[in-house]
């Protein structure tokens, strides 16, 4: 189970850490897993280490049970409004069910196997994200008070002249307006409960507020009718909920309604997902079609230009005399570039001269020599850059330059380095580079010392390890050991391999 960026980590207190062969990097990362319970992303950002390394190290720490993760769920699965509605509906039903089981919702285990199958379509009781977020959903105590709804201060029915405080008037109308849309628990102002005492208390509280006796001899205008109706409604809710059989049946019905609402919301959410996927696919297809058209046009244009250029050149350089004179011009320009140390440009000009007069072998020789030198120089610059980045710790960026060096000068060592660094960022090209390096070695084209050969094998081994090809890595390490058993990184890598 791979670590995810948003996974939160916490330390497992342990005494016996010696003998685990932790690397300084691993120890460092472990020290950063503090009480703040950072996420994997936090650690990558804070440490400045390559993400892959951090993740690997952390994964090892998790495997060694020095660190454990607290899985945090994404809030809303698809981000769509309907899905949110579905999750709300589900939470509602779940809360109802949980509350009526007479207690808080149990906290679910902190982690959950990732291998859990995805939501099956049309499963009898789908449990989307909201279900899992139950782990962090704190439910109110069953039978606890709900907030009293209030009407707006400017409601025209409010009357300051009555013997009924404004706040009370607003609260009374607030509940009155909700009659018929709230369930019996909500009317009594409590969360669902099986606690008969809580139901009675809630009813008594409302009675003291709604019963006509509470306003004996008071001028409360039309509120008398409203209060009478509210008292009757509260009474009816109480009578229903106080009987366990009626309450159970009613709760079943409520659950049925909630389930239905949830299904509707979910169906909507699935439909929305499907539509979005469809839209995205169409969008992609349109872009692809456009690109294809553009590419086709560009290709045709290129071919046309080429054809015209060749025709033009051909018509222009019909005679050998003319070609030779043009070639000499190019050679002169190339020599001028060489003097300016522009080997790349010079190689290009030699190439042009060679193309004009293919029978001149010296042109060919000069072209290859200059090209080799240009590549050597390019590789040199790239390696300089790469080393500079490595020194600054930016190994991921460095991979780019190592790769350039390998491209410019595909020696075994250059390719091996490129392989090791590309592997750091999980780049699949790393395998090609490692193979390339080994191919060069196999051909024996390079002259290299035993230490250099060992280094090449170690680099290849590192590349394979980073890509998870542990077996190949092991072979490489063994080859390196043959050349130079005292290679500085060899022992650590062997140990790591063993643990892995």
């Amino acid at each position: 189970m791979a670590l995810q960026g948003e996974d939160r980590l916490e330390r497992v207190p342990r005494e016996d850490m010696e003998g685990l062969g932790l690397t300084p990097q691993e120890l460092f990362l472990m020290s950063r897993v503090d009480d703040a319970k950072p996420t994997v992303d936090d650690l990558i950002r804070e440490s400045g280490l390559p993400a892959k390394q951090v993740k690997d190290s952390l994964a090892r720490l998790v495997d060694l049970e020095l660190v454990r993760r607290i899985r945090v769920q994404r809030r809303v699965p698809t981000g769509s409004h309907d899905a949110a509605a579905a999750s709300v509906a589900n939470r509602h039903a779940r809360r109802l069910r949980a509350a009526l089981q007479g207690g808080r919702v149990d906290s679910r285990p902190a982690t959950r196997p990732d291998s859990r199958p995805a939501e099956a379509e049309g499963a009898p009781e789908p449990r989307p994200e909201a279900e899992r977020s139950g782990a962090h959903m704190v439910l109110p105590e069953p039978g606890s008070a709900l907030e009293t709804p209030m009407v707006d201060e400017r409601d025209p029915r409010l009357d300051a002249d009555l013997d009924l405080p404004m706040e009370r008037q607003r609260a009374v109308l607030g509940i009155y307006d909700k009659l018929g849309t709230v369930n019996h628990f909500e009317l009594l102002g409590i969360t669902p409960t099986n606690d008969v005492g809580a139901i009675r208390r809630a009813y008594h509280k409302l009675s003291r507020r709604f019963h006509p006796d509470a306003y004996y001899g008071k001028n409360i205008g039309d509120f008398r009718v409203v209060l009478e109706e509210l008292f009757k409604a509260a009474r009816a809710s109480h009578d229903l909920l106080i009987s366990s059989e009626k309450r159970d049946a009613y709760v079943e019905r409520l659950l049925e309604i909630e389930r239905h609402k949830m299904q509707v919301a979910e169906a909507k959410s699935r439909e929305a997902d499907r539509r979005r996927e469809m839209r995205e696919a169409l969008e992609r297809q349109r872009i692809e079609a456009l690109e294809a058209k553009r590419n086709e046009a560009a290709r045709r244009e290129r071919e046309e230009r080429d054809r015209r250029r060749k025709a033009k050149m051909h018509s222009r350089l019909v005679g050998r005399e003319a070609r030779e004179s043009k070639a000499r011009e190019h050679i002169r320009a190339a020599e001028a570039e060489l003097r300016a140390d522009n080997y790349g440009a010079a190689a290009g000009l030699f190439r042009l001269a060679m193309d004009l007069v293919p029978e001149r072998a010296d042109y060919h020789e000069r072209w290859t020599k200059t090209l080799t030198e240009a590549n050597r120089r390019r590789a040199h610059v790239a390696l300089e850059n790469a080393r500079g980045l490595v020194e600054r710790g930016n190994e991921v960026e460095a991979a780019h330059f190592f790769e350039e060096a390998a491209r410019a000068e595909p020696t075994a060592i250059n390719q091996a380095r490129a392989a090791a660094y590309l592997a750091l960022r999980g780049d699949g090209k790393a395998v090609d580079r490692a193979r390339g390096a080994l191919e060069v070695l196999r051909k024996g084209e390079d002259e290299a010392t035993a230490e250099e050969l060992a280094e090449i094998h170690v680099l290849c081994a590192e590349a394979y390890m980073r890509l998870g090809q542990l077996h190949t890595a092991k072979t490489q390490l063994e080859a390196a050991k043959d050349y130079d058993p005292r290679h500085p990184r060899l022992t650590i890598l062997l140990k790591k391999l063993k643990v892995g």
């Binding site: 009675r200 009675s207 509470a214 001899g217």
Partner: protein, 609 residues
């Protein structure tokens, strides 16, 4: 804040209470007693006697002394209960013009609400004297099992007594209010109320300032009176066995037997044995006199009344099962009513509920206290308590076939209402008659008829096309009212209510007027009484000083003149002290005070010299 008293209008005794500074207090009557016998008598001189005075003269004036009038209130003359009581009743019961019960005392016929009003009036005066202000509003209690007619009649009684009855509440509920007042607990309690004439049992949930009745039941014709009747019957049969004389036709003897039976029954709550000694109980036509002397033991009493107690326990059993309450759910049993002093009652109730009954409440006073608490809760904003009571009987109408169709179930929390839609059964029918009843029987005739309601002036239309929605409401008092509306036109439909018992509105307002006059009369006489006492006091003070003053002043002609004037004042006062004219009494008081001041001045000068 206005003063509203709470009155427990009981079968045997009536109690008035008030919440003073947040504390419910029973108001003692003129004699210092907290309870006043619910008795009314008319003396030979035509004077109305209420309470203790009426009770004291009952033996000598049995046929003109009404007791236990509550047993008849709101009842029809032809009901079996009334005829059963008539047999042993020393006063004359006659049928009223509306099939109601009336009482004849000397040459006047009184309705039962009037008799109750006399008692209420007496208690109103007691309260006014205690508070020093007029009392115009009251909360009156009735047995929980009272039906609408009985409640309405009680309310009428209050009105005749000049009281605005702001609420009728149930006695057991009132008792629970007094029990739970000012206490912050959540409890489920049962109130067992066995009074002089009625039995009630109510189950209540108390908590959060709410007193909620869950269920109530009872028997409005089961109480101390029935126990006394058993003892009386036993005494009569013993007497007949020994002397061969049946005393049932001798009203005076019956009254003596009744008193003796009550006394013996009360004594046996404390003692194991009681002696009933009635010398010269009966004198035969040939001058032979017979005495009654019987020994009654507690065991014998319990044997002859055990079935009555068992009846109450059966009702408790039914109430609990109706309310789906187990005795173990209950936190307390509250005993209310004088009859609960009887050891057998306490034992049976304790055994049935499986707990020792609560001893914290005074069985005679608790109901009135509760009524005063409800009164104060209604008018005092700072009292945050609420009573949720229920209707004791199902309310319904008679439908085709004489069946009873329930609209509001018993034990429904009041206020409540229910609607029923009536249609015409004939073309162009202009009126619909609806019989409204209360009770639990499927057979409408077995239930209590509350009234006939006639929907009149229906618009002419083919049958079934006129739909009238009739709404039956039960107020927080437990009193029923009816309103009707034509569903199609939305027009309020007029309803004529035909009284089936009790008093008509005309009779009622006439009585209210009469009694208002009586109240003024009584007030004046009381004022005169006070003035009379004061004048007598002044005269005796002046007479004490006379010798001293005479000795000092008789030397001068001015002094002699003054003395003769003073003597004239005192003589006039002595002559007119019994006048009922408050104005005259006021004048007398004034002149006597002047004379006394003068005398005091003379005496003080003399003592300095």
């Amino acid at each position: 804040m206005e003063t509203v008293v709470g009155i427990d209008l009981g079968t045997s005794n009536t109690v008035v209470a008030i919440v003073e500074d947040g504390i419910p207090t029973v108001i003692p009557n003129k004699g210092g007693y907290k309870t006043t016998p619910s008795m009314v008598a008319i003396s030979e001189s035509g004077k109305r006697l209420v309470g203790h005075i009426a009770k004291r003269q009952a033996v000598t004036n049995a046929s003109n002394t009404v007791y236990a009038a509550k047993r008849f209130i709101g009842r029809k003359f032809d009901s079996p209960m009334v005829s059963s009581v008539m047999q042993t009743c020393p006063y004359a019961i006659v049928e009223g013009p509306h099939g109601d019960v009336r009482v004849q005392l000397r040459d006047h016929v009184y309705s039962v609400p009037e008799i109750s009003a006399f008692i209420l009036q007496e208690l109103r005066l007691v309260a006014e004297q205690y508070l020093g202000e007029e009392v115009e509003k009251a909360v009156i209690t009735v047995p929980a099992y009272f039906n609408d007619n009985q409640r309405q009649a009680t309310k009428d009684a209050g009105r005749i007594a000049g009281l605005d009855v702001i609420r009728i509440i149930n006695e057991p509920t009132a008792a629970a209010l007094a029990y739970g007042f000012g206490k912050d607990f959540e409890r489920k309690v049962v109130v067992y109320d066995l009074g002089g004439g009625t039995f009630d049992v109510s189950i209540l949930d108390i908590g959060n300032g709410v007193f909620e009745v869950i269920s109530t039941a009872g028997d409005t014709f089961l109480g101390g009176e029935d126990f006394d009747l058993r003892v009386m019957d036993w005494l009569i049969s013993q007497f007949q066995e020994k002397t061969g004389v049946d005393v049932r036709d001798d009203r005076m003897a019956l009254q003596r037997l009744r008193d003796a039976a009550e006394k013996a029954r009360c004594e046996l709550s404390m003692a194991r044995e009681s002696l009933v000694d009635l010398p010269f109980l009966y004198t035969t036509a040939n001058g032979e006199t017979h005495h009654l002397q019987e020994r009654l033991t507690r065991d014998a009493l319990e044997q002859m009344t055990g079935d009555l107690v068992q009846r109450t326990v059966d009702i408790c059993q039914r109430t609990l099962s109706d309310a789906k309450v187990d005795p173990s759910d209950l936190d307390d049993v509250i005993l209310v009513g004088g009859m609960t002093r009887m050891p057998l009652v306490q034992k049976e109730v304790g055994e049935f509920f499986g707990m020792e009954p609560c001893k914290g409440v005074h069985p005679d006073e608790v109901v009135a206290l509760g009524a005063s608490i409800q009164a104060s809760a209604l008018v005092d904003d700072s009292q945050d308590l609420l009573l949720l009571d229920v209707t004791p009987h199902s309310l319904g109408i008679m439908i085709v076939g004489g069946f009873f169709h329930t609209l509001i179930e018993q034990n429904t929390t009041v206020p409540t209402s229910a609607s029923h839609i009536f249609t015409t059964v004939r073309d162009n029918q202009t009126s619909v008659k609806i019989l409204v009843l209360q009770g639990e029987s499927e057979d409408a005739t077995q239930n209590e008829l509350l009234g006939e309601f006639v929907l009149t002036d229906l618009r002419p239309a083919p049958r079934g096309q006129v739909e009238v929605k009739v709404t039956f409401s039960i107020s927080a008092d437990g009193i029923v009212s009816v309103a009707a509306q034509d569903l199609e036109t939305g027009r309020e439909q007029s309803i004529t209510v035909t009284a089936t018992s009790g008093l008509t509105e005309d009779e009622l307002s006439k009585l209210v007027e009469e009694s208002a006059g009586y109240m003024v009369e009584v007030r004046q006489s009381e004022e005169a009484e006070r003035a009379n006492q004061k004048i007598k006091g002044l005269i005796s003070e002046i007479n004490k000083l006379f010798p001293t003053v005479e000795g000092v002043m008789s030397g001068t002609s001015f002094g002699r003149d003054a003395i003769s004037k003073a003597r004239a004042v005192v003589e006039r006062a002595e002559g007119e002290v019994d006048s009922k004219d408050v104005r005259v009494l006021g004048e007398l008081t004034e002149s006597l005070e002047r004379t006394l001041n003068m005398f005091k001045g003379v005496v003080s000068k003399t003592s300095i010299e």
